[in-house]
Subunit: 350 residues, 2 copies
Amino acid sequence: VLKVRILLMGFGNVGRGFCRLLAEKSDYIERHWRLEPRIVGICTRTRGIAYDPSGIDLDRVLSAKDNIESLGNPGSPRFPTQEDVVAGGDYDVLAECTVTSTDGRGPALEYMKEALSRGKSVITTNKGPIAFFYKNLHELACRHRAGLLFEGTVMAGTPVFSTSVNGLAGSRISRFEGVLNGTCNYMLGLMQSGADYDKALEQAQKQGFAEADPAMDVEGMDTALKAMILSQVLMGTDVPRPEDISIQGISHVDPEVLLDAKDNNEQVRLVARGEKVGEKCRISVKPTPLAADHPLYNLPGAVNGLVLSTDTLGPVCLTGAGAGSKATGFALLHDLLSLYDSRERCRKGM
Amino acid sequence: VLKVRILLMGFGNVGRGFCRLLAEKSDYIERHWRLEPRIVGICTRTRGIAYDPSGIDLDRVLSAKDNIESLGNPGSPRFPTQEDVVAGGDYDVLAECTVTSTDGRGPALEYMKEALSRGKSVITTNKGPIAFFYKNLHELACRHRAGLLFEGTVMAGTPVFSTSVNGLAGSRISRFEGVLNGTCNYMLGLMQSGADYDKALEQAQKQGFAEADPAMDVEGMDTALKAMILSQVLMGTDVPRPEDISIQGISHVDPEVLLDAKDNNEQVRLVARGEKVGEKCRISVKPTPLAADHPLYNLPGAVNGLVLSTDTLGPVCLTGAGAGSKATGFALLHDLLSLYDSRERCRKGM
């Protein structure tokens, strides 16, 4: 059994979902993967840093109410800041799930660079750094023979990258079309049934879908970041420049569009489209009426979907959970297992 | 660049689709995978055996009209039978795409066993042997450190196994629901629009969907074999025994059922369901009305779909091509690349 030491950056919904899965599935993971993942450090913005090279007790940290520092090992090295842990801590994998920034810059990016430069693998659900700095991070990972996986950046743990990069290996993807934001999906559903924007937003917030500040979701930036990642990873394009991207959110949808769609038995969804043009990608994000036979017509609530146009199979469509603590925490678990797995099981045809 | 020598068993639609893709994509495969796949032998039932250790010219063999023996190398070893090539030929990978048998026994199974026993990897689109002898073949592959991949046995090259085994690694799948036969899907569509069974079958044959002997498709056996494979590979169950499987095809669908479904805005599809019960799996195959919000409601023509119930993400749905020379040939290409790939690219996060 191989011990894997994980440093967890961020202990919000995603980080907690990940820890819960590790606790729940530890026997299963040991039996099937011969792995013993241990969280050796948890860094939070407001609740301190817990560090224990022999592994933090997950049940205790999950039920802790406030500062978690005391759950570390008092005899272990002290790290005054999160940067210090990343740069000096003893770990194998950095699991990064802090808050994202819309330009990709900020502490999360620096953590990832530092870890990769030390030859530590990085798994992350953080969209910004991957959307803007995928190439740099990927090169850094290759140079230091480290892994870089980010399944959770698009459609939570629904295996978008695994399916397209491994499953479609040998195919070329020339175009994609996705419904990638559950909040907008849910709100547009309500708006098409007659609710106005404010009412729909209120309802989404009540349901726990939308954040208190919903701008990232409703203005389309969350969807655009995901489309930027998809275009680079699935189609090998350069980082999209601002002039290659057009974004229109759902906060100013013409009520006529919603009514017309309803009359035509169409469903309006916030659709991200990406198309490869040479080495570049043209990306658009906008509310789009979809006909009843469109593969993304049928997406209840927070379910997301992605259609890939391939040269070998025609369209391939994947739908599944697009958000949630467990579903996104699973993305990190999946990435972790992929780092230590894959070849052997592939060869064995399992 | 690594040379990979492939022995191809069967040169029907699938084998030809595979060869066409290899010819089309050879530069791409060399550039991205540092692989040079070469077909060193092609075994056919009625058109002879071509064998050339230095590689058969794919363009010539694809345009050959009858016996292909002369396309081999006259100076190379002679193999009187297909068995002899499998047992004595010099190759790295056996690509098996001969006709399937409904009990899994027959020459294809023997070819696979022989190749695996020699430590050669096997890639196949042949359902019968995997449906009935997956465990044995898998054990044989492990024992001889060979690969065994069979993406093309279910939903052509649409990456069902890659997505579920690798992409959902760490999840448990407890149930699945699939529309896995394009012919039945197409015919039921026509029947629901008023065509009778014979008319629908005639139309499917005209479109090239159904075989001259359509029994495997319309009686549900093709779907049942696929469900047997899914249950073992995705849920780790034992080989389903006959008493665990109930099969009802589409040749005797009650017209009332079709009419009722139409009235309710439902779509009747041949649905395979599998459910894990302990180490066993209960499988049913039968025409089933699906409501408009069911993820498998919207499947045009030969498109297949599969919904997996997971403990981490809830339902995950994958739809895509379920048949066709190129789509199934791609399954073999995908399996080939997986054999020689995977770990490195996973680690690099590509």
